[in-house]
């Protein structure tokens, strides 16, 4: 039985999808209709009790939280495809550090921008201009730190691409696209070069080609 990823058209599941494609792992996807509230139905909550995407089912094994899925796939298929965890315990420590930076520091302000700029009208809440402004400022300060770091390091965890870089792909793709703030990336020389590099990887291009939200 093949591994299944639920909710492929949304951003967070794409962290799992790009990792699976990088590692050359066969998988299937199962669409989840968030508009119809499918994620709040008992059948889905049995897979993911918080009612968010993704959820992953691998035979009898269930796992949720996109970054936990990334780690699981990278570890399980360590011997195939690029080594996304680093070669030593210390390199892995750096991967975990930047994966956590993405989760705790980069993602929250970017999530606010995503919800309030892309999805407010669709989800039926008023777009908070003050929050948008504050979130952009916070994200800008974070990107300044990335700029300094990437001027000394080709990828976030060192000279190799890792889960830490891939974790940034889905929501940064929103930032430079529908959110309309590509300048935040393009105006920073090293962040821009890093973004061009990781977003032109074949695995990411395939992810977008196959699983972009239907127009």
């Amino acid at each position: 039985m093949v591994l299944k990823v639920y909710g492929p058209h949304f951003a967070s599941p794409k962290r799992a999808l790009v990792t699976l494609i990088e590692k050359g792992v066969a998988f299937e996807t199962v669409p989840v209709d968030l508009m119809k509230g499918e994620h709040k139905q008992p059948a889905y909550l049995a897979l993911q009790p918080f009612g968010t995407v993704p959820a992953v089912v691998d035979g009898d094994y269930k796992i949720f939280e996109s970054r936990a899925v990334m780690r699981y796939v990278a570890e399980k298929y360590r011997s195939q495809g690029p080594d996304l965890l680093g070669k030593t315990v210390e390199e892995r420590g750096q991967v975990e550090q930047w994966l956590d930076v993405e989760a705790t520091t980069f993602h929250p302000p970017l999530l606010n921008l995503t919800l309030h700029i892309m999805f407010a009208s669709v989800m039926g809440f008023p777009s908070d201009e003050k929050l948008i402004k504050e979130s952009e400022e916070k994200l800008s300060a974070v990107l300044d730190v990335y700029e300094a770091h990437l001027s000394k390091s080709k990828y976030l965890a060192g000279d190799f691409v890792s889960l830490a870089d891939l974790a940034h792909l889905p929501f940064t793709d929103y930032l430079v696209g529908p959110i309309g703030k590509a300048y935040m990336i393009k105006d920073r020389k090293h962040v821009s070069a890093w973004w061009n590099d990781i977003s032109s990887r074949p695995a990411w291009k395939e992810t977008l080609e196959k699983y972009s939200f239907p127009a």
Binding site: P49, E96, T105
Partner: protein
């Protein structure tokens, strides 16, 4: 040479690392970074942690920040010593990662601003946002119901044994339990059972003593 932990033993994120060191019986030294005088934003500390936060570690030439990444690194490096915090095999480890990530995305996002308003602001002579705290508590109630359900059929978050998934919750929970939020935990049978069991661990008791909370 002993690992140096830069931070303050009363602050939640450094506590996460201290708890890991104590559970793993790893010797360490705390180098005090004074949060009350914003020492974490000064140039010397920014060299260790470019986002101006605590903790950061220096272990010989190896440096790392992000408390959860630090804890994972030491739990991996000292896998055979002290408490096994990461699970015995891949599928178990991924469930540990899953519930550790839940702490970041569902629990801490609510716990941190509650603690900020109920505990930290009064200490700094600032006003608590009462309306926000009530909203956050309502959301926290929904999350705690999911935890309650999980702990009804599992002794600890990731299964039969205490792991990183439980440990990572403890610092913020420790602060929450000193506020009226403790009623929300005590009202939930399994959460209460879990909290009593994990806070009876010697490592937690030692941490509380170090932080000046117990005689």
């Amino acid at each position: 040479m002993v690992v140096k932990l830069y931070g303050q033993v009363t602050a939640a994120c450094p506590q996460r690392v201290v708890l890991c060191f104590l559970e793993k019986e790893i010797e360490f030294e705390i180098v005090h970074v004074d949060l009350d005088t914003l020492e974490q934003k000064k140039p010397e500390h920014l060299l260790r942690q470019p986002f101006g936060q605590v903790p950061a570690i220096e272990d010989g030439d190896f440096k790392l920040f992000e408390s959860r990444a630090i804890a994972r690194y030491y739990a991996t490096r000292y896998a055979d010593q002290g408490t096994n915090l990461l699970g015995k095999f891949l599928e178990h480890r991924a469930i540990v990662d899953q519930w550790a990530d839940v702490e970041t995305h569902y629990f801490n996002v609510l716990a941190f601003p509650i603690v900020l308003n109920l505990v930290i602001k009064p200490r700094l002579g600032e006003e608590c946002d009462v309306v926000l705290v009530e909203e956050l508590k309502a959301k926290l109630g929904v999350v705690l119901d999911i935890y309650e359900n999980r702990l009804a059929s599992n002794r600890f978050l990731a299964g039969d044994e205490f792991t990183m998934a439980d440990l990572t919750h403890m610092p913020a929970m420790g602060y929450l339990m000193r506020t009226d939020v403790n009623q929300m935990v005590k009202a939930r049978v399994n959460m209460n059972r879990w909290w009593e069991e994990i806070t009876a661990r010697p490592a937690w008791k030692k941490l509380m003593k170090m932080a000046g909370f117990e005689a």
